[in-house]
């Protein structure tokens, strides 16, 4: 079970509100924290994650930027190197590519190429994943393009409690952190049945978000469902899809929500797979060279003697994310369940 930080009072919040609260808490605690991005100032972001921050902290702490992702990331590098704690928003992860050079060649490598003389302690927030009829430019999951880069940390929460604690930890982290926000989970958990009404976070235990300051450490996974038959490694939206697949198949799976992809919580993964002997990896991103490939290699290298079945990967297909065929593309409970059955068949 996900540990609940104890800070006293708590408030029911969506993931959007939890993220906003993390930013507000940190902006109040630390004058160095600034927030900016396209439409992220006055309006508060197209998903409203920064709503009210400009009104509360002033336009010099929360502001709109020109439509230039390279500008946004590049400016964040400069501010972070100076000593601020910038939290930049990229409107959709699909639009990070103009800023990718600044992420890969600059933010990620500044510390190492200056032997620690300069650093870039920044956070780049970006919504990821599909399930909102956004097509190929509002649905991508580019985590593997980020975990492949030395010098970056990559975080992806799956619920409001984790989102707030992880974001605060990311802001305090001395290295550049990419903070991926599964947009399908912004307003509620998602069981992969798009025809059903959205279940709001207010009905979910992890929508009860502690008030004030708390952190959830980077690099620690969470076992969201203990089980004996097999281990499912998931993150973001697929955490809930895995839960739905367990319901549908009745397989007693241990579901691990990785929460941080890099640094990876190898210990939790290894302990679980050694216990169950079977492993299914599920992500929404395309399959080839996806993060699942790294997970599969880690499990194979560390758990070879314990494996009773080949590691299964359930992923998006190696095609651009379609609008019209979104639910064919999306690895829903049926496909994750099939992967689980396959692992059990050995």
């Amino acid at each position: 079970m996900s540990e609940r930080p104890q800070t006293g009072s708590s408030t029911r919040r969506t993931m959007i509100e939890a993220i906003r609260d993390a930013l507000a808490v940190m902006m109040a605690r630390d004058d160095r924290v600034v927030s900016f991005g396209e439409d992220a100032g006055y309006f508060g972001g197209v998903f409203r994650c920064t709503e009210g921050l400009q009104q509360e902290f002033g336009p010099h702490r929360s502001f709109d930027t020109p439509i230039s992702e390279s500008g946004i990331v590049g400016a964040a590098v400069g501010m972070a190197a100076y000593g601020l704690r910038p939290v930049a928003e990229i409107q959709f992860a699909d639009y990070m590519y103009p800023g990718y050079d600044q992420i890969v060649s600059e933010a990620a490598r500044l510390r190492s190429r200056s032997a620690g003389g300069f650093t870039a302690p920044l956070v780049i927030r970006m919504p990821v994943g599909g399930g909102i009829r956004g097509g190929q430019t509002h649905s991508q999951s580019p985590e593997a393009l980020l975990t492949h880069v030395a010098g970056l940390k990559t975080v992806i929460p799956s619920n409001p409690v984790d989102a707030k604690g992880l974001l605060i930890a990311a802001i305090e982290d001395p290295d550049p952190v990419i903070f991926l926000e599964p947009k399908r989970l912004y307003n509620g958990p998602f069981d992969g049945r798009p025809d059903q009404p959205v279940q709001p976070w207010s009905n979910h235990a992890l929508g009860d978000v502690p008030d004030g300051y708390y952190t959830i450490p980077l690099g620690k996974a969470s076992i969201v469902r203990p089980g004996e038959d097999l281990t499912v490694l998931a993150y973001g939206t697929l955490t809930f899809i895995a839960e739905a697949a367990v319901e549908e198949t009745g397989i007693d799976a241990e579901i691990i929500d990785l929460r941080t992809l890099l640094p990876l919580d190898v210990d939790t993964i290894v302990a679980s797979v050694r216990k169950t002997g079977r492993c299914v990896i599920a992500h929404e991103a395309t399959r080839t060279s996806g993060f699942g490939a790294e997970l599969s290699a880690q499990v194979q290298e560390r758990c070879f003697d314990f494996l009773e079945a080949p590691i299964q990967r359930v992923t998006g297909f190696d095609t651009p994310y379609p609008v019209g065929l979104e639910w064919i593309y999306f690895p829903g409970p049926k496909r994750v369940g099939d992967g689980m059955k396959k692992a059990m068949a050995y």
Binding site: F43, V46, I67, G135, T288, F317, V323, G324, I328
Partner: protein, 417 residues
Amino acid sequence: MAERHVQLHVPEPSARPGEIPDFSHLVVPPVHDARRPPVEAEAHSTYDLATTLIRVLDDDGRAGGEWDPGLDAATLKTALRHMIITRLLEEQFMLLQRQGKAAFAIRSLGEEAVSVSSAMAVGATSPGYGPGLDMHFPTYRQAGLLVSNGHSLFEMTCQVLSNSGDRLDGAQLPGLHSVPECGFFSISGNLGTQIIQAVGWAMAGAIENKRIVALAWTGEGATAENDFHSGLVFASVYQPPVILNVVNNQWAISSFQGIAGGGDTSFAQRGIGYSLPTLRVDGNDLLAGYAATTWATERARSGHGPTLIEWVTYRAASHSSSDDPTKYRPADAAAAWPLGDPVKRLSQHLIVTGSATETTLAELHEACRSEVMDVIDQAENLGTINSGPKASPVEMFRHVYAEMPPHLIEQRQELGY
């Protein structure tokens, strides 16, 4: 020297929700102000045209000045019809989105003269596409190019519905069309990326000594992207036959044009900075848009190279079906826009010149409406995003490569196809 507080300057628009719209910063010169230089003019001699506003229709709907293209009444009525069809069609698309039949919708309400006048001035492209042909590289805000260039409204609607009649097989968001035979390049959805592609298309034409023209399109917001600047510098260096269209509709979702750096300058002046001949035009004046594009097209085809055009207009509707503009600008802002509405202005011109009456215009509207409604009905028969026939899942795998590689064949088979 007076000391000033060092502080971060974050531009603010002249009015926010609840305030009175204020467009006093927009200087609207009389129609006779802007001179029309010869098309072979040097870039530096167009400085004045990058700061003024080229206008043909005055406030009473009369045409005048050096830029008056002298179009006949029949051509003007066709232009009006294309603007009305574009408006009504996009209005229906928004309705379809609200009814859950389309994934997304976007409109060019209030900006229809921009794409319609440009398409008419460039002229219909030859059927088919390939080397030696003109090409528009549009954004989602230029559906009028398709209407003007005679693309099937039925097909446009099928694309918006992501149904079995969608030639893109549901691969792209509604409104992100791709119509090679209309000289309409596949719209990416990633802002700014295609400005430099248009320049590349034009460079290819120049390499082959073709009398073509390529047209780049961008909103003022996306001019902040690096690719815009790449486009301008390549155009300036290689002098290819390209028209760089910057549609300044004042807003980029919730950010006013000042956030794109338009505060104390015009976007047209960016062109001058790169030594590109530049025109700043009243985007709601169909005649002015036609005249400016004709000038730039003649220039391109006669070997005199690129032109930058800033279209000054107003995004009268929401950014898209996902947006609520009352959250960041006065609700009645569009009504106060000093350059008015393009459909009304051209209608008024036809009336004052005796080419139309209130009655014939009402008939035109009615004819356009029933044409659009028929198209919507027919297209819905081929399904919507939510129901009815759709592209086969096979299509998802089909166009990723010219030849499907083994791993995709395997994934397709995994899916049962």
